[in-house]
């Protein structure tokens, strides 16, 4: 999955893979004809949800 991300930037958009990640893993697994458990998962990267540049007061 992390290689898929590097090649296609799936998981690099606004949801950071939190929405699209599972679907992408399913597609990758089906394409490789392997169980979805074996394709790995995206490494977590801070922040866990989008945060504004300026802290809201």
């Amino acid at each position: 999955m992390n290689r898929l991300k590097a090649l296609t930037r799936a998981g690099m958009g606004r949801c950071q893979g939190r929405v699209c990640g599972h679907a992408a893993a399913e597609i990758l697994a089906r394409t490789l004809n392997e169980p979805v458990e074996t394709v790995g998962r995206l490494r977590g990267q801070a922040p866990i949800k989008p945060i504004p540049l300026r802290e809201p007061v």
Partner: protein, 577 residues
């Protein structure tokens, strides 16, 4: 186990390594490239994406100038879009002294054929009305730009494959040796015999050099990067600042990429992580430059592993120890733009034993390349053979010692034994400043590190926070809630120049100065400091707003942790400002 026999083996799979594979194939040689993970996934892929000549050390500028020409044709050569755009690179001044730095650099850069445009406040506002009031002027390099680091390395690797190079990923190299006839490189799953060997192993380049008797002091360097969601186009130029503590660009897609400071790295397991406090600091600094970004949403942060040399200048060239071996590593956080030209140079070194861009002198140790070969005119110092020898000597010394000990704080502040002078050349016309809270340039930082000490110090040869050791403080305690730290100072430490004994007052003065944005480029690192007090002449108490696990890193001999003599600063206030 796969066995390959080729003309050239390459260790590493970054842009330097992959572009070397391309250039060597174009020269008709057979090539095997061994990458421990994925090509272009290391420092080549995680960096800011700046394609910048401006601000480079003059020893690198000729290479950077040549690389910039190659960038124009890179998309066509790779037959892929690498996102390169000559948006210009603008370096911002936040003070009059910043502006003076830009003026001096622009003057010298002109001698290398790099034209920079100095912009005053009005001209700058006219072009970029979205800049904040903290910015008072700038230097624009119109030919610089940006590209997408995620795609450049893999694109080079694909071209190398198309040209017939044997590219092996997930093939970490365990060992390489020369047996008199050629090289044997043992990697996971593959063993390579070759006549020549290119060491482009990035952060591990020093260790690879060590297999051939010349270990190099390469320290892990991790950028700390942040990116926002895509936004309407606003930031028209790639942006840097004097001091280098923050940099910002907006991608074609609209994401704003910003960075500054460092993440944490472990070169043993190869993992690097961004540091939240550093990300937040870079976000704050970005807002002072571009206030309109206040509501932009940050979606991701990242880091990666690069290798840094003590003088921040990469090692490119053949060592004296082993014929057929060529190094290119230690790009010290600014290798992305150079990548395409490094491949060209490596191919020249392998096929012809020399490269016109390097002016390698025979018999020199790991070559400092063509540093400063361009003579200077007028009243500025000429870069002579003398100073070149100095540089080579430094390299030799560092290689021989394979330690950063020399670059650490002076062992005793006042009692250095009288006698011999060690002359060390630097590839710079002059230092620009010695205020440790402002010095961030390539040439200034090592000098600062020789002069100042902190309460604690990085163990010589290490950049790990885990092994910090006592220096000006002989011991310290931390309260149970982690908010109060008390340091007991070493007694009898004297400042240079007759400024008397170090006391708690000097430490308090220095840390307050480090925390003040008016006097420090690192002030945001100290945002959690609530109070710094002298309990008695040899005891300093730091009270924090909230616990800071890495507090010792903030009082170490780096950036804001350096301790000044209050008396000396006040005596020289007019020039030490």
């Amino acid at each position: 186990m796969e066995r390959l026999t080729v003309d050239v083996a390459i260790i590493g799979g970054g842009i330097a390594a992959c572009s070397a594979a391309v250039a060597l194939r174009e020269a008709g040689l057979t090539v095997a490239l061994l990458e421990k993970r994925l090509c272009g996934g290391g420092a080549s892929g995680v960096n800011f994406g700046g394609v910048r000549q401006q601000g480079r050390d003059f020893s690198e500028l000729p290479l950077s100038r040549r690389a910039r020409i190659l960038w124009d044709g890179l998309g066509a050569k790779l037959a892929e879009d690498v996102g390169f755009e000559a948006t210009g690179h603008i370096k911002l001044a936040r003070s009059e002294s910043d502006m003076a730095v830009l003026e001096a650099y622009a003057r010298d850069a002109a001698e290398y054929g790099l034209d920079l445009q100095l912009l005053g406040a009005n001209a700058l506002r006219a072009e970029m009305p979205w800049l904040g009031p903290a910015v008072i002027g700038a230097s624009l390099s119109p030919t610089d730009g940006q590209a997408n680091p995620r795609v450049v390395g893999p694109a080079f690797a694909r071209l190398a494959r198309r040209l017939g190079a044997e590219v092996r990923e997930h093939a970490p190299v365990r060992h390489a040796a020369h047996d008199g006839a050629g090289f044997t490189v043992e990697a996971e799953g593959v063993s390579v015999r070759s006549r020549s060997l290119v060491n482009a192993a990035g952060a591990y380049g020093g260790a690879v050099a060590g297999w051939f008797g010349e270990a190099a002091p390469v320290a892990p360097l991790s950028p700390n990067m942040v990116v926002t969601e895509p936004l309407p186009h606003l930031v028209t130029r790639s942006i840097g600042v004097v001091g280098g503590d923050v940099y910002v660009r907006q991608t074609r897609r609209g994401n704003v990429v910003l960075g500054g400071g460092r993440g944490t790295a472990d070169s043993v397991d190869g993992l690097a992580r961004p540091v939240s406090a550093t990300s937040l600091g870079a976000m704050d600094k970005t807002l002072t430059l571009i206030p309109d970004l206040a509501h932009a949403q940050v979606i991701r942060s990242w880091s990666g592993l690069d290798g840094e040399m003590p003088d921040h200048i990469p090692v490119i060239g053949p060592p004296a120890t082993t014929p057929g071996l060529v190094h290119a590593f230690g790009f010290s956080g600014h290798g992305f733009q150079l990548g395409p030209v490094v491949g060209e140079i490596l191919a020249e070194l392998v096929t012809q034993g020399r490269s016109p861009l390097l002016s390698i002198r025979s018999g020199s140790s790991v070559s400092p390349r063509g540093v400063g070969r361009t003579g200077r005119r007028g009243d500025r110092a000429l870069m002579t053979e003398e100073s070149l020898r100095g540089i080579t000597t430094m390299r030799r010394f560092l290689f021989a010692a394979a330690t950063l000990a020399l670059l650490g704080p002076a062992p005793a502040l006042a009692q250095a034994p009288a006698g011999k002078t060690l002359t060390i050349g630097m590839a710079a016309a002059d230092i620009s400043q010695l205020d440790p809270f402002r010095a961030t340039s390539t040439q200034d930082k090592p000098v600062v590190s020789w002069i100042f000490n902190g309460l604690v110090r990085f163990k010589p040869g290490s950049t790990s926070l885990e092994t910090l050791e006592p220096d000006l403080a002989e011991s310290w305690t931390r309260s149970d809630d982690g908010r109060t730290w008390t340091f007991a100072l070493r007694k009898g430490v004297k400042f240079h120049g007759g400024y008397g004994e170090l006391t708690a007052d000097d430490v308090v003065y220095s840390l307050k100065r480090a925390a003040d944005p008016k006097t420090s480029s690192f002030a945001t690192d100290y945002a959690a400091f609530d109070a710094v007090e002298a309990v008695d002449p040899y005891t300093v108490k730091i009270t924090l707003k909230h616990p800071v696990p890495s507090l010792l890193g903030l009082v170490a001999n780096y950036h804001g942790g350096n301790v000044l003599s209050r008396k000396a600063v006040e005596a020289w206030a007019t020039i030490f400002a």
